[in-house]
Symmetry: C2
Subunit: 185 residues, 2 copies
DNA sequence: AATTTTATGTCAGCCTTGTTGACATATCTC
DNA sequence: GAGATATGTCAACAAGGCTGACATAAAATT
């Protein structure tokens, strides 16, 4: 039913490429359709899990992201959160305000710098964050359980390398903790 | 600066869990924070690449997804596209209409079933789709190049297993082609 | 042949979550 | 004290989801 075409090739080298250099160069340029599409489908399903639960609380995905990182990093500041999420403070403020009002997050004035707001998840906030994390963990574990033990290290190494090089150090610190240097396989 | 807390544990077993069963059960329930967060960061950067180019054409990510799958699967029907993207026909129609008007996609009446619309990328459409796919491929290849040769197979196996089990067969067919059965590592 | 189902299109309105720009306040730094 | 910084807030807008209702052509069923 669905034609099994490879339009990329048809469009790319439809007569002859004036650049020449066949072989490995062409391979390097051949789109990795499989990984591109699998990434799309996997992410689609991965983020869909929490949606139903979030709905019950009147929250959306934006709330989830904020709650997750605050729960994981108690004392996170607004600036750090903005840097992680890469959204504007106005966007953040909208969802953050709701999380504060509904008592899932609380904000305390910074001690060393009283301009800062330090964000903490409340008991209720931690509970919801954990519930959602567990849901996603179940999916991850299902996938990993069918694979070699080294799979986890390999996958996390891959995902880390997919990130913008300027950001890997920052992400590494956020994900694995500030202390460890962490070496990859 | 950032506390290295593990709120999950604090919140989960803060006194004693009446459920009991310590040991491996707790391990199974421990959230895979690293993979959850790396997935978020990696996807964030992965989809950001095409954004600048899409901007030049007045398109967004929604257009990208539609164009990508139509380009990959010439003759795709509306129904199949809706099933892939998991959005409503109204949402699809909005972006599809623009892709048709700007001549990146064309629609032909189905031959066997004249109710259907078969979608095809135009030359211009293929060109843009390929440009975007190459951009994402570059990122993927950069990551893979630093890893073992088996990494690609392992990663695609992982992503495939992350997908809803009911969908894996369908996705496999879409991604790897209808003929092959494809066995994983 | 008449009826029902299916594939698609379209109008109208709403929600979430992103954006920009402007401006206010408290606090820190120099 | 002046300027920079961290945050908050108002207003308006855009993209891209959603629901519900209704229309049409073609296929399928009875």
């Amino acid at each position: 039913m669905v034609p099994d075409a490879i339009p990329a090739l048809k469009t790319q080298q439809p007569g002859k490429d004036p650049g020449k250099d066949p072989g490995k160069d062409i391979l390097a340029e051949l789109p990795a359709y499989d990984l591109i599409e699998l990434f799309f489908f996997a992410y689609r399903d991965f983020v869909s899990d929490p949606d139903r639960i979030l709905d019950e609380y009147g929250f959306g995905r934006a709330h989830h992201r904020v709650l997750h990182f605050v729960s994981r990093q108690p004392g996170l500041t607004i600036a750090e959160l903005l840097d992680i999420l890469r959204i504007t403070k106005q966007s953040l403020n909208r969802v953050l305000k709701e999380l504060l009002e509904k008592n899932f997050i609380e904000s305390r004035t910074g001690t060393s710098d009283r301009r800062q707001r330090l964000l903490f998840a409340t008991a209720q906030g931690h509970e919801l964050a954990l519930k959602l994390a567990k849901l996603q963990t179940r999916r991850i574990m299902r996938a990993l359980s069918e694979m070699e033990p080294e799979a986890k290290e390999l996958v996390s190494g891959y995902l880390l390398r997919l990130i913008d090089p300027d950001d890997t150090a920052h992400v590494k610190q956020l994900v694995f903790g500030p202390k460890e240097t962490h070496k990859e396989t």
